[in-house]
Symmetry: C2
Subunit: 407 residues, 2 copies
């Protein structure tokens, strides 16, 4: 498997477009579209928030119904969440506009929105945006890149990844883009993500591969502990690589799962590192656990702790806060058998041994914690399981962004 | 019942003292002592964090063992958490120093610490502090007030409350002090709190009244979602009011429970309003719930949301974040039947009706949210239950304090 250039247009048969439709932002693209030349198997995972945005309900019905889709329409600026029956109507009208322009059946049009909760969309502008994008769809890397920019809200960087690998004697490509910077906390999935692949695979296995992959990737990201109303990961497979259809868990299936893991992990790290106000990507690894679940609960608790995140912001090796966050996580472990390390490009240092502090150099620890990517590693025993979670530091920038986001 | 002056020295037979022992801070008092003239029934509730500080283990053994205590020794600056066997030894030596100076049996000396996790105490300084305080114990309001100052860490204000009420034909007094500003999140209890009363009551009922009271008070406070390793509420009853001993749940028992609720609620509001970096006390009330637990889970989720707290900091009526936080709380409710209001000394405004936004004046909402105490009220149905949670806004001050707390 090798990483390759591009995102949603990397796989065969996928085009993308973007448009400045004036949904809420002025003077920047705020709509994107993905179109496959043929019908795709569609898989999806959605927020577990009781409050679900209208597009989440729309997409879930398609994925759980026919499991087939050919186009995705995305807007940033307004989330179409807490918008009642009117919000659902806008999903239908979006799909209807795509049918008019591109002759893709309404029930094969997926919809996604991200932005402020509670405002209604201007559906006339959505229609205009679809009209503009229908004329400019392109399969170039650049078109995918522009789409990745258009779906950004408080993100500072577009987020794309793609890999190519072999399955069934064919070259397969899997690419994707995502957005997400605030209201990011693991639960089913944590933002908008769109994955496209030309692999030929049954819808059931496509969904299973996706559902499985997000458990170790998107569900292990946290920026601020707030699980969004709009979280969506969509995965479209159009089969144009012409490998024999994957209908059982054979080597090709596992190659595809591995590709999904690589792409999703890369996208997750991009989200965490670009968390609102973040100056550092903060990775937490728990090793030596008896069960996977125990390792995940501990890793997520540390990466979600405001106090730990503020210490990372200050490059402060305040390890007591890490042990404290492990302690209230809800997972059992023995603090007196736990070792802690910090690691980054600047080196690795042990800071705690068997539950009490080591004699370590504060200067060295600060130097290690001053890198743009820092990692805490807790070894809690001799068990076989481990887990990694991704987050970021808590900074003044986060307050600046969120104390008055709506205006 | 009437509120009265003072804190831990308000009830008959209780003295307090403080000392600048140089535990970690320089030039300010950092130790306090409470002494009853006679043996007390002792009740306590402690952190649910798996990582428990040494004093938590020490106190729990006393409360669950004999249930009797006469003195409490407290230090700020160092938490004596993650300190292994050495930390436990310091608890024993602290008690032993009190026995030497005041002839109180070691197993009747409760110990509490708050501050940095992972550093060892200088036990010689603890001993010196006990020596100083043993000579200056006083039953004045001022002595209690100084003790409340000495136990502060990042708190900006001392926190005391006291009430008097009648039971068994006698005047009873219940007073207390607490500290807590960061690492504050409901789970059993959320900081250090010391309550003293002269009521005559069995140890079993004393513990039951306390355990019950904290469910609706300290367990409903959150500053930053981090449940401390040192959380402790201790309640000493010395019986000197000479009411007939309360041994059943009669009117006197319920009068005492009511007094506990009043004192604890007042202390909770002080903690939330003095949360690290806070500019506003933020109160969340859930009404119309079917069950108490449902109301509490929803209220705690909203008051703990970084995004909601940042919006309160910006005086921004960003109600979508409130509904979002209710949605991921884990409690079931129907967003489409939910109404939302903001309220403060400046007025009350409805911002959401049946799950979608109302037409409200942003200026009026901002005015209401600019008060030092603001409240969000969500009415989720027609059920009989409600709950209140207390927190504060998330500000630049929180980052300033926590990005480099240890230095």
């Amino acid at each position: 498997m090798t990483f390759t250039e591009g995102g949603v247009t990397a796989a065969k048969g996928f085009k993308a477009a973007d448009a400045a439709a004036g949904i809420k932002y002025q003077g920047r693209p705020d709509m994107a579209m993905i179109l496959s030349s043929v019908m795709c198997k569609a898989a999806g995972t959605f927020t577990t928030n009781v409050v679900k945005a209208a597009p989440v309900i729309w997409d879930r019905d398609i994925v759980k119904g026919s499991g087939l889709a050919q186009a995705v329409v995305i807007n940033s600026g307004i989330a179409n969440a807490c918008t009642g029956e009117e919000g659902m109507k806008y999903c239908r009208e979006t799909a209807s506009a795509v049918f008019e322009k591109l002759a893709v059946p309404e029930n094969a049009v997926l919809v996604a929105s991200t932005g402020v909760i509670g405002m209604q969309l201007r559906i006339d502008r959505i229609r205009d945006g679809i009209s503009m994008m229908s004329g400019s769809l392109s399969d170039t890397i650049e078109a995918g890149h522009k789409a990745a920019r258009a779906i950004m809200t408080t993100d500072t960087k577009p987020k794309e990844a793609a890999v190519s690998f072999r399955a069934g004697g064919k070259d397969i490509v899997l690419g994707g883009m995502c957005k997400g910077s605030g209201m990011i906390h693991p639960n089913m999935c944590t933002m908008l993500c769109f994955l496209t692949t030309d692999i030929n695979i049954s819808q059931e296995l496509l969904q299973e591969a996706l559902s499985c992959s997000i458990q170790d990737t998107f569900n292990m990201v946290s920026v601020d502990g707030d699980t969004s109303t709009n979280d969506t990961v969509l995965l479209l497979a159009n089969g144009l690589a012409r490998n024999p259809e994957i209908t059982e868990k054979n080597d090709d299936y596992y190659s595809f799962c591995e590709a999904l893991k690589e792409v999703n992990t890369k996208l997750c790290r991009m989200i965490a590192g670009d968390g609102e106000g973040a100056t550092a990507l903060f990775e937490v690894e728990i090793k030596g656990a008896d069960t996977k679940e125990q390792a995940k609960v501990l890793a997520r608790s540390v990466v979600s702790s405001n106090l730990v995140k503020a210490a990372i912001c200050g490059h402060d090796a305040n390890w007591g806060r890490i042990l404290c966050a492990m302690g209230y996580s809800g997972a059992e472990f023995d603090p007196d058998r736990t070792d802690l390390y910090f690691e980054s490009a600047a080196g690795k240092i042990q800071i705690m041994s068997a539950g009490t502090g080591c004699c370590f150099s504060e200067e060295e620890a600060t130097r290690i914690l001053s890198e743009p990517e820092v990692k805490a590693i807790a070894v809690i025993g001799k068990g076989p399981e481990s887990a990694v979670a991704w987050g970021c530091d808590l900074t003044h920038g986060y307050i600046d962004i969120n104390a008055d986001y709506r205006s």
